[in-house]
Every structure is written in structure tokens, then in C-alpha cells.
Amino acid sequence: MRENLAWPPLDVTRSTWAERFLAWPGSRLVMPLAMFALAVAAFAVHMSGAGAHPHEMAAHRGAPTRIIADQRVGPYVASVWTDPEVGSGPMYVMLEAADGQTFTPPSAVRVGIAPVSGRLPEVLHDAHSEPMRRGARFMTDVAFDRAERWTLRVLIDGSAGGGQLTSQVAAMPNAAAGPFVLVLSLLPFLAVTGVWWRAAVARRRISALP
């Protein structure tokens, strides 16, 4: 009589919480259902176009930090967020109506940057509007060419009024880990090669046994 080999026997010598979960009969349904639901959700998001949201890469690009918080400017309360990396620095200008007023979107939002050292003249960038449920969000990418302190000016114009915000920000080298990333990306190949080689040696030894 052959033993049923469909599933390996449970290892009764271990009883971690993970093992107890796996031993629970319902666990066989929970995970496939959860994965299926997540896959459907991901597919739906992607097909709806939301998957191509321009800022979805935030998790892989770095989160922005707020450098101006809830500052009154004209009829707006403004916050400015950025992730100031050398090369590319996304700038977000978040606007809400001040003092419970009706929100009137501004006609133009521009972001100006210049090195504090004065080695370059100010460069103005037009920010474009992005859909928001409340208030408005304007976004633009500015280019920091060097890791140093920069002066930041946000200019807001519109029929309801406008104004200017100023601040300073320190641009940082992108990918702070630097060439370490290159080494880190190489390690998996070395590790798998090492495991494969060790397994080949072990196999040869086993096959040589009587």
C-alpha cells in the first residue's frame, strides 16, 4: 500500500504561529482568495488608468517632505512638498481656501529656484494642475544640478488674488546609497551561484555513496 503523497505530513515537532495558521483548514482558501482579489483589484486599477498615475512611483522614488506648511497666501492656505534630489526634484503646491471661503482655483502657479550661492540666475517653472477632491494641487519638476542649498519661490496668480511664498531647500545626491546599490544588486547573483555550486558538490558526494 502506498502512502498518500499529495501533501507532506505536518511537522509536529514545530508549532509556530505560522505553522498553526497553515494547519488551519481555512488557510488553504484564505490565501488564494486574497491573492485573487488583490490581482483583480490591481488589474482593475491598471485598466482604469489609475495604474499609470504619474506619481505612483513614489514608493520607488522617495517620499516628498513638506517644506512650507499651511501658510496663508492671498485667498489660499498653501503647503509646498518636495523631494529635492540632484537631477530631478518634484515640487507640489497644495492649495486650500482660507477662512472657509469658496475655493477659486488660481490661473497660474510658478516655482522659481536659484542656488543660494548666486552662481546661477533664478529659473521659473510653470506648475500644472492635478485633479484633487478638495482644493488644488499643482506640480512641476525642477532641476537641481548640484547638492547645495537653493532658494525657492512659489508665485500664485489668479482672479481671486495671489501672492508669493519663499523658502530654502537643500538638494541631496540621488540614491544616497551610491555605488553600494551596484554592489547590493550583484550580491544575489553571487549568492545564487554559491548555493548552486555548493548543491552541486553535495549532489556529487551523495551520488558517490554506495
Partner: protein
Amino acid sequence: MTTAHSPVAISSHVAPAGQSFSARLNGPWHERALQVFMGIVLAHWAEHLAQAFQVYVLHWPLANARGVLGLWFPWLVKSEALHYGYALIMLVGLWILRRGFVGSSHTWWMVAFWIQFWHHIEHALLQGQVIVGQNLFGSPVPMSLAQLVIPRLELHLIYNTIVFIPMVIAMYRHLVPPEAERVRMRCRCAGEPRLAAA
């Protein structure tokens, strides 16, 4: 009644008729399935290696350093689809291949699975913010929880590394197992079980 390391049990590796797909994946097909899975994992690492090479050796601007696939399909890198798809494939692969592992290798494999499960939750959080149209912590972009602690590009690499390390340890323990674990294995990943033990 036969034991797992008897000649009759071994013959089931060769003739798996009657076994479910999952049992075959974790038995006679386990070695091949693991090779394919590891190929996918290494292909992902190769993309990161290519990207790091473009940035640090070729000195391309970060925006242009899109790895290999991203050069031909830039939308892949710009959208969440590629990253989410890979996270999903990793999660599914770790789950469906888990039963082929026994003993300590199974423990390490499940460590990798649970870390990847959390990684996947983080991706789901990002997707959820896009669907709802409201970002966490008042951020202008969707945020994951780990970004609060590790707010930079390296987070993605860190996640992949901490999943990869227990996975490699599990692979090592699976391919070079202690004898007590090897005789309990249903696959040929560590070579033929020792018939002398029967």
C-alpha cells in the same frame, strides 16, 4: 506501508499520475519550478543591476536610467504595474512552492513569504490611495508606511533584499539539507534520496 524514502515512494517522483498540480509542483516538478522562480527573481535583480550600472558607471541621469525593459517600455517603469506585478508573482511563487520545503528550509521560506506579504500590503496601500483619491498623512503622493522611516529610493531595494536573504537561506537548506530533512523531502532538489536508508 512504505516510508517516504523507500523505493516505492521514490518511484512516485517519476510517475506522478493521480497527484494534484500543487503536489506535483512540490514534488517531482519542484526543482524545475524553483529554477523558473529563481530565474524571475534574478531577472528582477538584473534590472536593478542594469539600472545601477547606468547610473554609477555610465553616469546616465536617474530619469533615463530605466534598466533594460524600461528602455523599450518606459511606461512599465513609470507605472506601478511592473512593481505590483512582480510583488504579486513573488507572493504567489513563495506560497505555492512552500510545501516542497521541509524542516528548517521551510521555516526560512515562510519567513521570506511573510516579509513579502507585508511588502504586498504596502503596495496595496499605495493602490488603495490611488483608488480612493486620498493620500495618507496629507501627502501629495501615495505613501507607504515604511516610507515614514525609510523615505528614499532605497526602500524598494531593502524590501527585495530582506525577502531575498531568507529565500536564499531556505534554498541552501533545501538543496544541501541535513540527512534527517533530506529523507523527508518529496522532490529531487537535493538529489536522489539514499536508498540505503530504506
